[in-house]
Amino acid sequence: MKRSVWLFAVFVLMGCGMFVVQRGRGDIRGRARKAFITYQQLKAEGWPETVYLFGQNPLSDAGIALGRKLFYDESLSADGKVSCGSCHNSYTAFAHVDHKLSHGVYDREGRRNAPALFNLAWSQSFMWDGAITTLDNQSLSPIASHTEMDLSLPAFLERVQRDTTYQTMYRHAFPGEPMSLPRLMQAIAQFELTFISQESRYDSMRRHQIAFTPQEQKGYELYKLYCADCHKEPLFRSDAFESNGLFPNIQFPDWGRVEITRNPKDSGLFRVPSLRNVEVTYPYMHDGRFATLSQVLKHYSLRTLKIQGVYQPKPIVLSSNDRVDLLAFLLTLTDRQFVQVKELQDPRGFQK
């Protein structure tokens, strides 16, 4: 009898302990659980292992909600008008489509085209030149950048700290922890980790739910022949930095990866972006010089420019029919569901 009482007490205590651990991690029934399940499913479907260290920043509903609010908060910029969401629009797969180059506070113009944001858990580095090595630290860059949000990090922290809504949300996201910049950045990362794009027509074909049209299929074969070395399936991107034969932009000199590595061999190299959602993430290239996919394909078929010291890939020979077929395939990579997910949109717009 006495032994069973002890055993009962031990089980009760263990149960309480588990409850505390779960509570401490925050609620994971909503967005966090959905993202977790999606990552598991994609792994089962043969997608590569994620790079992001989820153990350092476990997803929670409260963390994602805090990150979402921070992502869309213009008050966290020097002039109170620019947020992450200003250059990364959910309706265009978090790309910036109305200008070649992104612009920030006081209409200051940056020198690069804001990249689309999705499937970030598979990225080893970020930005066109790979300057940032972890997603958690990525948001520091636009916040502090003179041409983007231009807010000093202490000022950013202070603005968040004095906001009572943020105080409450932070307590739910990171219970018992004093508010800190690294945690706020992790909250933004949590929100961004829910940007999972995997419901395109291509994905349905891959899951044998639909079949491509003959034209799409021919385009797919052309993709495999000419594009797949750099834009690898199923993410249609890679962590490599490549030259695609672009002539340097004289107005905005930008030599890409070499600015980070200082290795002359990296001159003119830029990250290989994803072809997923490429239909809605115009303009194209690191400086947004091409407005349409047709212009991009034309560039690849004509590139013969020789730039001193920079490797130039050979032109891709495509007939006009080939180009149309390849375009038809590229359009199968658009994830209409992803660009319409309400939980990824500005929460204030959603309330309206």
């Binding site: 300057a131 090595t133 630290n137 520091l140 990090l153 800190s180 690294p182 945690r183 950045m185």
Partner: protein, 225 residues
């Protein structure tokens, strides 16, 4: 018999936890920064060589203890308390100037590694290991100095393993002296501004590490009222 067993157990516990194992005791570290043998004071002109003087307005830098895990400390000349540390220094540890590359690639963290201290490059990943800002005056000109020395990848590493810590006993603390003479003598108007990883930043970092000296000073165990 039972008493003997208890005694043996007690002895084992004392041996395990009670006897002085220096490596388990925290290492007290104090820092001083010297130029021409004088303690560097912020916002004061100090002579480098007869015709050159400097006024340092900001000086912050990182020091790590590399053992099984890395501990990182931020020193800031404007905050005297940051120049005193009690650090865990397990056997086999080494002191390291800067933040090691393994820590650099991870997420930022609260505490010394919080980017809010202005020691994190936001335009790219990585900590500034050493931030020295100020003015240099020669007979003919006054030039600003901005040394933001950092870099941890692509053969541009600036972190430096420091010499082994001298043998110590519990009554001594370690005094680390940072001699700035060689660093400041090597700065020219053309090399006074380093804001990103480079070979020059590496050279400067090597000069800083080369200017490190250790000393043991008695810990005041009998504080006066």
């Amino acid at each position: 018999m039972a008493t003997h067993r208890h005694l043996i157990l007690l002895l084992a516990v004392v041996c395990r936890f009670g006897l002085a194992d220096l490596s388990a005791q925290p290492l007290q570290i104090t820092h001083q920064v010297l130029l021409q043998g004088k303690t560097v004071q912020l916002d004061s002109w100090m002579s480098v060589v007869p015709s050159v003087s400097v006024k340092i307005t900001t000086l912050k830098w990182y020091l790590s203890v590399q053992g099984k895990t890395a501990q990182t400390y931020l020193m800031d000349l404007s905050e005297p308390t940051s120049l005193l540390q009690s650090v865990k220094y397990p056997k086999g540890s080494r002191l390291y100037f800067g933040v090691d590359s393994q820590t650099q690639v991870l997420s930022t963290r609260p505490g010394a590694l919080d980017p809010v201290h202005g020691m994190y490059w936001t335009w790219q990943s990585g900590y500034i290991q050493w931030k020295l800002e100020g003015l240099m005056k020669t007979d003919t000109a006054e030039i600003p100095i901005q040394l933001h020395l950092g870099g941890f990848q692509n053969n541009l590493q600036t972190g430096q393993i420091l010499p082994p810590v001298p043998i110590r006993d519990p009554t001594n603390s370690l005094q680390i002296t940072w001699l700035l003479d060689e660093l400041l003598r090597s700065i020219t108007p053309q090399t006074a501004r380093v804001m990103s990883p480079s070979h020059l930043a590496q050279e400067y970092a090597q000069r800083i590490a080369g200017g490190v000296r250790y000393g043991l000073i008695p810990i005041n165990t009998d504080p006066k009222p």
